[in-house]
């Protein structure tokens, strides 16, 4: 029997992932590739919003999509069918989030350097994806009008992390008690710098504004 000794660690359980995410972000910056991590509750409209947006930008910039899913490949197929851009499915193997290593292996599989912008549709969930940094150069979230205007109060972390919040399904506002102004105030309370864009994938209201937002972001990212 050897001698027992204590090793002090005193570090966050997420520290290793944070380090790897920073390295990945730096590699993406050098390659001038934007990686956008898209988060939301299940069914808030990630795939639909990406489809609307990509159809407006795909002639101007080269785009790819990585779909994270616990097990299926429905979303990746839907993106290919409805936009024609390259898309791959990442399986999280039962995990409720993607981490930096999983993201990197997905990027390597599609040879990421040939794209201007890559969207990563994270697992539908407001808690875990917010905790695990994927290495993305931009984090965004989608909040649908059916979820309630008080979500920013209940899930602080994800709203602090995202500098763009898309309010989706505004065509359905008449059916829900969702106060858009109150929701915007709640988001600003968590993150005063957040850009907020209300949209509908049904009527396409707001999609132009979203398109302009991304084309400008890609331009300034390339120049930085």
């Amino acid at each position: 029997m050897g001698q027992v000794r204590t090793i002090l660690l005193e570090r966050s359980a997420f520290a290793n992932n944070d380090e790897r995410a920073d390295i990945l972000r730096e590699d993406l910056r050098k390659a001038k590739v934007m990686l956008v991590n898209v988060m939301s509750s299940p069914g808030a409209g990630k795939t639909s919003t990406l489809t609307s947006l990509i159809n407006n930008i795909k002639d101007k910039v080269s785009v790819a999509v990585m779909e994270a899913d616990i097990d299926s490949d429905v979303d990746a197929k839907s993106i290919v069918k409805n936009t024609g851009v390259d898309s791959i499915q990442l399986h999280t193997g039962g995990m409720c989030h993607l981490d930096a290593d999983m993201t990197r292996s997905g990027l390597d599989a599609i040879d990421y350097s040939k794209y201007d912008i890559i969207f990563l549709e994270n697992v539908g969930n407001l808690v875990c994806p917010a905790e695990f940094d994927t290495g993305a150069t931009m984090d965004i979230m989608i909040l649908s009008t059916s979820e309630g205007d008080d979500k920013p109060l209940k899930y602080p972390l994800i709203f602090q992390k995202c500098n763009l919040v898309i309010i989706s399904k505004i065509d359905a506002l008449k059916y829900f008690t969702f106060d858009t102004k109150k929701c915007i105030d709640n988001i600003k309370y968590r993150n005063k710098d957040a850009t907020i864009i209300p949209i509908s994938n049904k009527t396409k209201e707001g999609i132009e504004e979203l398109t302009t937002f991304f084309l400008e972001k890609i331009k300034s990212y390339k120049e930085s």
Partner: protein, 114 residues
């Protein structure tokens, strides 16, 4: 499911640390979790018992899980209070201009090795 992801992330790191330090085995691991972290202590323990079998150095490791209470700070009256009991509203002045100070961490504290 969520706990399992975090547990695997921890056991992977501890295995690496054990290897770097050339130890024979890890006897115990102390983890601190905040009361309002996303970790449910009972699930975490179950996941750990399962995950440790898949490791190199933690097969016989005992887990000490310490739960830290959550405290919030009120920007208006400058006092702290118990988050779990009072939530977002300050019990001293009823303000909602409050934020969490501690309680959402998941921290690897120390290991005992042989």
């Amino acid at each position: 499911m969520h706990e399992l992801g975090i547990v695997f992330n921890i056991t992977k790191q501890i295995d690496e640390i054990a290897k770097e330090n050339k130890v024979n085995k890890v006897i115990s691991l102390t983890v601190e979790v905040g009361e309002v972290s996303t970790v449910v202590p009972e699930y975490f323990k179950d996941c750990f018992e399962w995950a440790k079998k898949k490791t190199e150095y933690l097969k016989g490791c005992k887990l000490n899980l310490v739960v830290l209470s959550a405290l919030s700070y009120c920007e208006d009256c400058k006092q702290t209070y118990n988050t779990v009991q009072f939530g977002k509203t300050c019990p001293h002045c009823k303000s909602e201009h409050t934020y969490l100070v501690t309680g959402n961490e998941v921290k690897m504290k120390q290991i005992e090795v042989e």
